[in-house]
Amino acid sequence: MTDMARGMVIIGAGECGGRAALALRELAYDGPVTLVGDEPHPPYERPPLSKDAMVSEAPEIKAIASEAILAEKSIRHIHSVQAVAIDRAAHAVRLSDGSVLPYDKLLLATGSTPRKLPMPGLGPRCVYLRTFTDALAIRAHLTAGNRIAIIGGGFIGLELAAAARKLGASVTVIEAQPRILMRGVPAEIAEIIHEAHVAEGVKILCGDGIVSIADDGKQVRIALAGGQELSADLAVIGIGAVPVTGLAAEAGLTIDNGIAVDAELRSSDPDIFAAGDCCSFPLAVYGGRRVRLEAWRNAQEQGALAARNMLDTGEAHAAVPWFWSDQYGLSLQIAGLSDEGRSTVRRDLGDGAFILFHLAEDGRLVAASGIGPGNAVARDIRLAEMLIGKRAKPAPEALGSQAIKLKSLLAA
């Protein structure tokens, strides 16, 4: 028998943990809910940190729930404190301030952390972007004429490059791969983003590795394999993220590219759940293939799903992955996993906007990647997402023809 007064404990007060806490109350759970986070802020949205919000004079947090709302909902938020150990037998978590929190059910929503560049010579002018605190520190350097080197041509680096240009900084992006956005973004779309950056004055160096970095605290000197050398006032490293699994691993939970959970987001301990960036889970739409997603909507949906399953709803994860990015006036959206595709059909939407539909060998729609000005691709990507969820096999001619509404394919 569990003691109901222990309640629900959530470790990690980010997108996923915050949403999970709110969801527990929306589900009318009336026991104690405790949200533990090592950042000093209430749960907030990370995507604005690398986008337009960065550009404002005094960037502010975009809170998911203010301290007042958390208090109103009787969600206890313990901030600036880390969870350091889980005692599974005693059903309790030990915190860095020495206190111990007993739980009935525990949710690990510890997120991910920037992958560190494994290289000597890094110093105070070599930084990463994950938190609001990181963002403020970077923002202070994004002034006209300052030279910003961005190591890694992924989404966070490129979005930050766009923001830095808007503020008048000079920006160089260094990418070791032959092109930017190698992972998950089709070359046709990456090319458009590349061109947009070049047109805005960003220098992009692809296919060139870094051989050395020297940071004397005032400037960073970077030597590339191709012989080029550049100096920068700040180097932002954006080479991917790794799941935060230390706490779970030490507690003996199964780790497999993240905290391994089942379709209900339950870890190898039935009273401990994991959700969001920190977990790997079986993705039903692709035959249960185990994946880990670093995406905002996934963190939201999994937070809410974990909350339901902590209350024993027994509901399986069934969502289709979805991701977006904004750079300059362009918006990109991707539904599904494009690496599941074997062939591609293009649909033009006007104004340069287009969608690539990715089809599996058997004709099943498995992903859709779109780019265009404003929200030009949004509606069709959303419809594609529903078609993917239904495991539909739409005729390629219909997908390619602007004259045929995608909504009509959904009804078929």
Partner: protein, 104 residues
């Protein structure tokens, strides 16, 4: 102040669809439900102020194009993350094939 303003012709909006309408420096979204009724709300999402008319209408829900926030366009109620602030709604009437909205 409480005048009825002509927004569009009934035929301008497909069933289960949405249209943008700008008036007096403000933006509205006009909806035609699957059962052929018309509705109006503020045109910008309460999450990050993007045009809802670029979104998708399904039954009585408008889904925001930017991050898929959902609202019931008949009541304005926010229906799930990331939106939490409701939309303002406006009275609508149809007269001689025109859709009129009352902008308060």
């Amino acid at each position: 102040m409480n005048d009825w303003v002509e927004a569009c012709a009934t035929g301008d909006i497909d069933e289960e669809d949405v249209m943008r309408f700008d008036h007096g420096g403000r933006t509205f979204a006009i909806y035609r439900s699957p059962d052929d009724e018309f509705f109006a709300t503020d045109g910008l999402c309460t999450h990050e102020k993007v045009h809802l008319a670029d979104g998708l209408v399904m039954d009585d829900i408008i889904e925001c194009p930017k991050h898929n926030g959902r609202f019931n366009y008949k009541t304005g109620d926010a229906r799930g993350a990331p939106v939490c602030v409701n939309l303002k709604t406006y009275p609508v009437k149809v007269d001689a094939g025109k859709v009129l909205i009352q902008i308060g």
